[in-house]
Amino acid sequence: MTNPPSTKEIRLYVDGELTPEESSRLENLIENDEALCQRVDFERKLKRHISDVITRQADTAPEELANQIRAKLDQVDRTIVGSIAPQPLARWLKGPSRANIFAVAATLMIVAGAVLFGIFGQPIDDIGPVPDTDVIMDSAKFVASEHNRCVNDEASRNQKILFTDPAIAYQFISDHLETMSVPMIDLSEIGYEFAGAGPCGVPSAERSAHVMFRKQQSDYGMPQMVSLFMVADSGQFRFNGSFGDRPGEWADCDGGLSSDRRVLIATDGRITYFLCCCDEEDMERIARAISFQIRFP
């Protein structure tokens, strides 16, 4: 603990997130420091007022909402019961003598489909690329989840981040991605040290790697990490202007359907980079530092 305690430490204390020993040390300081006592008191009052304000904004749900929900839940029940109950049509469909009819019908449909496609269908080359956003979103969701997993679980991290020597790690990445040498990213100027790197399984990419950096002085006593995912770019993302398709331009992509995590994406044409960061305040600076070192064309 710093002396005098930092605002972050005071807030951890007010939130009950310090260890008993740390709390005790801070309480000793508070006893002898009027200004510190006022700061702690201020943070407590701030917390109480925030709570009051939020509670007053919407203390209770609208009265009719409970009934609407009950009605919807009942509707689901009826749907389920309806689908389970044997119906005449269902019994007919399950009848043993219908199999041949289905087989004939299916064959006719396939033939008809093939004929219609032959007449009206487009040559395959004329069909535009599938929307790229789904591929990017799926990858973003995956990397956000991988970052989360590796930060929260040290065992998973150690299992994945096989190379902790930067020179060996970057040699591995260059070989693994089958590309020219990947520059070693150094984030020490913004307070992050290299933690390790290893292979990764980003969807839609045959080869990808995960590089992690650790904040040297975490303010919170918890790991504050950065994940940089490098994905061999074989055109699978089909950048079309929605995301940072200009070399070196970082863009926000959705962190996935189950997370509000921010994920940045950029490409240099050979490798596509996904960036996740625990401390989102640092994200822009990290992205800039990486851009500078990669020297995007």
Binding site: I50, L73, E280
Partner: protein, 182 residues
């Protein structure tokens, strides 16, 4: 979990879930809609619910969070997202800003709430929701991280940053009231 038991336990949490939906959407109708979808989704997967302490409420929060961000993602893909949902707060407090430059002991809290309300409404949804889980629900950082599906360090930095932004707003109020300087 049996259907009737699910309904009983889930509806007991309705006010809390609605409060969170309001923090995320800021519109009563959207919040009601979000809560209804949350309860339906919860019912469909209620067989998988396992009590892990804290009852059904954290689990419903998590589903609500997922439903909300699924909607945001869908809206982004369709290009119809509201500016409210993607706004960013540009003022970046320093890594560890000093304590407010006004006399803390003489700060008049009577006049704070209206300004705080405006300031909270100006925050991004993930900041508002983390403030609710922390301030109103009294959850620990680890529990909030579990609900929001992010590392605990992210919750810490979000909470710290959200408070710092709010204090910036209070600093303006203090200046107006002539409380700057100590």
């Amino acid at each position: 979990m049996e259907r009737q038991l699910f309904e009983q336990l889930a509806l007991e949490q309705l006010d809390a879930i609605f409060r969170m939906a309001m923090q995320l959407t800021r519109h009563p109708d959207e919040a009601s809609d979000l809560v209804q979808e949350t309860f339906l989704k919860a019912l469909r997967v209620s067989e998988r619910f396992e009590e892990q302490g804290g009852g059904i409420r954290p689990w419903l929060f998590k589903i609500l969070h997922n439903v909300f961000y699924s909607r945001v993602a869908k809206a982004k893909r369709q290009g119809v997202i509201s500016e409210d949902l993607v706004q960013t707060v540009d003022d970046q407090p320093g890594p560890d800003e000093p304590s407010p430059a006004w006399n803390l002991a003489s700060f008049d809290w009577e006049h704070v709430d209206e300004r705080l309300k405006e300031a909270i409404e100006g925050l991004k949804p993930e900041y508002r929701s983390v403030l609710l889980l922390w301030g109103v629900e009294g959850m620990k950082y680890r529990e909030i991280a579990e609900i929001q599906n992010v590392p605990i360090g992210t919750i810490m930095s979000r909470l710290h940053r959200a408070r710092s932004i709010l204090i910036e707003q209070l600093a303006e109020l203090a200046e107006e009231k002539g409380l700057t300087g100590s």
